[in-house]
């Protein structure tokens, strides 16, 4: 119990990272006026990247940052611990949240009933707070609490979609998501019983003694299944297509960029920092399991995406495939492979964010995202579809875009392991992406505008600028990957070094 030695704002940043969106959400619920709530939400989301970037800089220069909540020293109290991995993730989540907010003003006004718009912003900020909290916390049960805060607000965000199928999608996601979270809690319970602590650092030290017991291995299994439900790994992805399709455009763009990534981070934290890579990938058959499931995700989901009539649904299946790439990077269990996985977390968020934002612009003008009604829209809305094309090329993995950077690292890691067939499969699955992106580009640009698309005009500037920011980032970070891949490499090294020095 300390009397309080923190005097500067820089010391309080970890707490502000989570407390500000929570306060913003409570204010939005109190003030029921939609444009005031949008303003509060935008202010808060703009403050988030500032805090996250300064935290990441602090970590890159000075090592992990620790913040003891309530003055209680860890492991007795809850600790917020930021190192390179979750600093990177915090920057990603806050930047995506900030870019989407100016876009949201026009999009939300068009897609969501007037009396619910203030509550949309409240739920958005709750989701932001939950995701940031899940990334920043150093306590196992605190991660569950924030996981459920973000998940419950996500269910509400999805259910606000205009179609009645959004309700069924939200319900399905609720059932599966809650099962996943409860599996995580079971795993944490077993770990708590065996090690006696909930703090990550303390757990990493104490688990060494009990690592070979059945309870601890069962805990790993429960946590893996729980987190794989949340990150939508291949057979557990069933909730994702319906959820992404039914949700409003802003919600889809935000959730697609951030939700599954934080679940991947938590899995990484348990695999590398707490259990240790040697135990998880050496003694247990995690590598073949994740490898098979990732390959299944990459191929099966991409193939299903080709046959979809709704472009949002197509991109949702594409997301399942891209998550396969991320878990492939984890399964390779080498520093380069893990770098590829972590940098693909960031890159996929940029690509999918740009794609879903572009689709939101299209939905604003023509009312839906079905591929047959989008004939010729490229000629009527060239800037919007231009961003779509750029992000789509990035998804395929054209050199010079971010998608190429991640696949390069993954292929390099597979060749380093001696698995030439894996590098070949990575390239082959990219060809599937060519087919479904090519379908959209062909219908959008090479057909004459008909029906609804004939009167469509370009999207408003408030929506175009965020879309093009993300699309331009796809190219910028693809040409010069020093920033993203460099930090990802440092994160991978930090994970392999582990918490037990």
């Amino acid at each position: 119990m300390s009397g309080g030695q923190m005097t500067s704002l820089a010391d309080q940043l970890p707490a502000l990272q989570v407390a500000l969106p929570l306060a913003g959400a409570a204010l939005c619920a109190l003030i029921d006026r939609r444009y005031v709530c949008w303003a509060i939400s935008t202010l808060v989301s703009f403050a988030m990247p500032v805090i996250a970037v300064s935290l990441l800089l602090q970590v890159l220069h000075g090592g992990p940052v620790s913040y003891a909540f309530g003055g209680w020293e860890p492991p007795y109290g809850i600790e917020y611990r930021i190192d390179v991995v979750n600093g990177f993730l915090l920057v990603l989540i806050s930047v995506m949240g900030a870019i989407i907010m100016p876009y949201a003003r026009a999009s939300v006004a068009a897609e969501i009933p007037e009396n619910k718009q203030a509550w949309f912003y409240c739920m958005y900020q709750l989701c932001l707070a939950g995701l940031l909290g899940m990334a920043i916390t150093g306590d196992a049960f605190n991660a569950f609490v924030f996981m459920e805060v973000s998940s419950l607000s996500m269910y509400v965000l999805i259910a606000m979609g205009s179609d009645r199928r959004a309700l069924v999608a939200a319900y399905q996601y609720l059932i599966l998501g809650t099962i996943g979270a409860t599996m995580y809690v079971i795993g944490v319970g077993l770990l708590f019983a065996m090690t006696g602590t909930l703090n990550f650092v303390d757990m990493a030290e104490r688990i060494v003694a009990v690592e070979q017991t059945r309870s601890v291995m069962a805990a790993l299994a429960f946590i893996t299944v729980g987190m794989c439900l949340k990150l939508a790994l291949f057979p557990l992805h069933v909730w994702l297509p319906n959820a992404y399709t039914g949700a409003p455009s802003v919600a889809t763009a935000f959730i697609a960029s951030t939700a599954t990534k934080v679940a991947v981070y938590l899995l990484l934290r348990y695999y590398f920092s707490i259990y240790g890579a040697k135990f998880v990938f050496g003694d247990l058959p995690v590598t073949p399991i994740l490898l098979v499931l990732s390959l299944a995700a990459m191929f099966a989901a991409s193939t299903v995406a080709i046959f979809q009539d709704n472009v949002k649904r197509m991109l949702a299946y594409s997301s399942v495939a891209q998550i396969g790439y991320i878990t492939l990077g984890i399964a390779l269990a080498t520093p380069i492979g893990l770098t590829g996985g972590i940098v693909h977390l960031f890159n996929h968020a940029l690509m999918k964010g740009a794609l879903f934002l572009a689709l939101g612009c299209v939905a604003l003008r023509i009312g839906n995202c079905r591929i047959d009604t989008m004939a010729g829209i490229g000629r009527r809305m060239p800037l919007t579809m231009g961003a779509f094309v750029v992000a789509g090329l990035s998804l395929i993995g054209v050199p010079g875009t971010v998608g190429f950077v991640s696949k390069w690292y993954l292929a390099l890691a597979s060749i380093e392991n001696g698995w030439w067939w894996l590098a070949f499969l990575i390239v082959a699955s990219s060809l599937l992406a060519v087919v479904y992106i090519g379908r959209v580009i062909e219908i959008a640009w090479f057909r004459a505008p008909t029906g609804a698309t004939a009167e469509a005009t370009e999207a408003p500037l408030s929506m175009l600028i965020p879309t093009w920011l993300l699309a331009a980032a796809c190219i910028a970070f693809g040409l010069d990957a020093e920033l993203t891949a460099g930090v990802a490499a440092r994160a991978a090294d930090a994970l392999f070094a582990g918490l037990v020095q």
């Binding site: 119990m1 009397g3 005097t7 707490a15 204010l27 109190l30 309530g70």
Partner: protein
């Protein structure tokens, strides 16, 4: 004479005891099972019992939907406000010891305010959920 006279009379007799018991659970949370969430549910249950017995309209005249929705956010803001005050006085977020001149008094004040915030939010949430379900299809 209406058939539910017994229920109505017993409810009217029970309601004040329910509310007092709720506050008892709230303030004794430090030394016996209890605290904000349990007390909020008990007080919410008291209002819900009143709404079930005497009709949703009369309950809404006592606590309207907008009041209940404001209660939810005010409780959260009280909780966060206590945390921010702790931060402004030089401690970490939610550090109670710095709220007053001595740590023990500070802890006492901090926990009381936090639990009050939880009580208001949880009671408001329970009543709001009931209003939302019972008010549909009217």
């Amino acid at each position: 004479m209406r058939l539910d006279v017994v229920l109505r009379v017993v409810t009217k007799l029970l309601l004040p005891f329910m509310v007092v018991f709720g506050f008892y659970v709230q303030f004794h949370g430090e030394i016996s099972p209890g605290g904000g969430f349990q007390a909020g549910v008990i007080i919410g249950a008291a209002v819900i019992l009143y709404a079930i017995m005497f009709g949703l309209d009369r309950a809404m005249r006592v606590l309207s939907v907008s009041v209940v929705e404001k209660m939810i956010s005010l409780g959260v803001l009280l909780y966060l406000g206590t945390g921010f005050v702790g931060m402004l006085k030089g401690g970490e977020f939610l550090n109670y010891s710095v709220l007053e001149h001595d740590p023990i008094g500070g802890q006492h004040l901090g926990i009381t305010l936090i639990e009050l915030g939880v009580l208001v939010t949880v009671a408001g949430t329970m009543i709001a959920i009931f209003y939302a379900f019972a008010g549909r299809g009217r």
